[in-house]
Symmetry: C2
């Protein structure tokens, strides 16, 4: 009998859950009646073009390895930002890739990633159809931005949301200590969709009302209204904390960066983001103590604080991809449907990749308050289940133990 | 019998361990044969001037409360940046404070803080001596900067160091995923002392050699040498990661900020810190992909990731302060001596406040390599024991449970 193997790769930006989906794929293959070896392509689709593979069936043979992989941040297999050309313009990479598939006995290809990665899944699927290949091509979602269509939420988002909510509460404790008026701006990732910034609201509890304002890319940002919001809040509160998405834009659609905020004041360019821009605005117009905090890459790589719910769902979506391929599904992405919110329950399914790639799911306007400076309870109810549970990372010698990645950034 | 009470307050910047010292004081008073009630002054010494107190003996009566307090970031009692005048110039605040002490039956005053706070301890001690007061005045150290003299290391530092080391490892995983040349600059707190930046070295393990360079305030920063370091490293490594202290300075003693770095290039001012400055330098001179990450306040408030060793020592130093006061010690700070490094053992003592206040302890030059771009093994051996052990924060509803602080930043 000829070999029946499969291949998996990862692409796009890191999350703390994307390796759990990888582990789910490997586990699915191990328990599969159809596939033998699971190959990993290093640095996404580029790994095939460069013929750089790992045999994951042997590398991850032990349950301990799989468990550690689940808890390891970023991509174990590395990533890429490579965009496949349209095969009608240039089919050479496709010819190479499908030759590699044949050479390695690949019957199914799993690509874990976000929006751009689903574009690759779509293109490979289209080409497979054109050449009548029976290789099954399945996308597994992943993005802290939570902006993929056709699925209730995306792997990686829940963990990032938990990190943001926890960090916001800690920043509140940090901020409340001084009895002087102050404004703290917390900049959170999200270029087009504000889901992650919205998750900062989960930091609110019986003594903490921060963040006091939440500004999202989904509603136009008005500098005067922002200053008015802050001035008014400072009348009754010492320490005002603001959550702002990096992607906020004015009503003309221009990003709010400090270059804009400062150009008005000093006539020259600054090179910083939305948080710094709001910091400058407050400094120049209100004059209280002000600080901006950019959470930066930590929100997508802090695997020491992940959502157990997210990791479990990410793992299961990896397994699901394998069973879908076994059932001959192709040109699809694994999806997740919330069947109940209280108690929280989900079911796993799939959707055609064509309606997903290159589309973005934004926060519905009705989940944002009228003033556009906070979220509504409906959104909080949607978010809360996703951050439940803590995945226990092991520590050794004072730092977390993650799966070694000597094949990435190799030493000379 | 007249009342014999004591008072405690917190001052300076937040750490994740300063409330453990507060809990240690409260616990010490509970078990004291000499003191009845423990009062907390809200917002440091300002709380006395404003007569804002909490009765901590009742508020923290349960063991559960004390345990939760230990794990709560920043200052439960709030902080201040108030500097007492010299009593020879203006004794009015001193008169008020010691009147308050008398009114409340205060026999001992404990002040938990860093360098500036120890200046307050010194001034109150001097005034107490002048008026022949028998009130015992004891400082309890606290600072993530680890720059207090007379003690092996300071409460709060170990937890911040653990956070930095863990975060650096996670940033490495995040950075290694792309097979393209890149430089990542991680800016870490420390204006004068580089202890915390040095702790990033603890992220190194058998597969991770990052940070590849460490730049500290203790040695002069040379832009040309820095660029040479990076260029050379990029010849053999794809992803270079740099840890830099916010306080690096050139050989003339000027801080390296982006205003300087940019002024050379574009002739105008920027308003960012050392990390951004190095980012611009790499961008302009080397041209590879570059990103700077400012860890910001998270390194001092991320109580979800603290060192159990640090919390235990911080608590014990709070207890020690109470027993010192009982033994009639005054005008002193609690100190910690490392009696053995392997196995790690410490003993608790005290030192006169006069030699401590307004002095700073820097990294000895012999613990930094000759090139001034990395630390030596001796420093790593000093640091490693301080980050050992994980303190288990409780989670509820997806976020950490901390001690509520409704008396800070009160709602209208």
């Amino acid at each position: 009998m000829s070999q029946s193997n499969c291949m998996v790769a990862q692409s796009g930006g890191p999350t703390t859950a994307i390796n759990a989906s990888l582990a789910g794929v490997i586990h699915g293959v191990m328990n599969s009646g159809k596939y033998d070896t699971c190959y990993g392509s290093i640095n996404g689709i580029l790994g095939i073009l460069n013929e750089r593979y790992l045999n994951l069936s042997t590398a991850m043979a032990s349950p301990e390895s799989l468990k550690r992989l689940c808890l390891t941040p970023a991509m174990y297999l590395g990533s890429c930002r490579y965009k496949l050309p349209n095969y009608r313009d240039d089919d050479s990479p496709y010819v190479f890739i499908f030759n590699q598939f044949e050479k390695l006995g690949i019957k199914a290809f799993f690509y874990i990633g976000g929006n751009d990665s689903m574009d690759t899944v779509l293109k490979l699927s289209d080409y497979a159809e054109k050449i009548n290949s029976d290789i099954r091509i399945i996308g597994i979602p992943k993005t802290i931005d939570n902006d993929l269509c056709a699925t209730d939420h995306t792997p990686g988002f829940g963990s990032a949301a938990k990190y943001i909510a926890s960090t916001m509460l800690e920043v509140a404790h940090d901020t409340f200590i001084y009895a002087v008026k102050s404004v703290t701006i917390v900049e959170i990732m999200g270029r087009d969709a504000g889901w992650l910034t919205a998750a900062s609201a989960l930091a609110r509890n019986e003594y903490n009302t921060a963040p006091h304002f939440i500004y999202l890319p989904e509603t136009p940002f008005d500098q005067e209204q922002f200053l008015e919001d802050i001035r008014k809040k400072l009348e009754t509160l010492n320490n005002v904390i603001v959550a702002v998405s990096e992607g906020i834009r004015d009503k003309e659609g221009n990003y709010i960066t400090s270059s804009q905020a400062m150009a008005d004041q000093f006539g020259h360019q600054q090179l910083s983001g939305a948080g710094k821009a709001l910091e400058f605005l407050v400094k120049e117009n209100i004059g209280v103590k002000v600080r901006s905090v950019e959470i930066n890459v930590l929100q997508r790589c802090a695997a020491h604080l992940t959502s157990a719910t997210d990791l479990k769902e990410s793992f299961t979506q990896g397994q699901k991809a394998v069973s879908l391929a076994e059932e001959n599904v192709t040109a699809s992405m694994v999806t997740l449907e919330r069947t109940s919110n209280d108690p929280y329950r989900v079911s796993y399914s799939h959707a055609p990749i064509r309606g997903i790639a290159n589309e973005a799911k934004l926060i519905p306007r009705e989940w944002i308050n009228e003033a556009g400076n906070d979220i509504k309870p409906e959104l909080e109810e949607y978010l809360r289940p996703l951050i439940q549970g803590e995945a226990a990372v092991e520590f050794e010698n004072g730092i977390p133990v993650y799966m070694p990645v000597p094949h990435l950034n190799p030493q000379p």
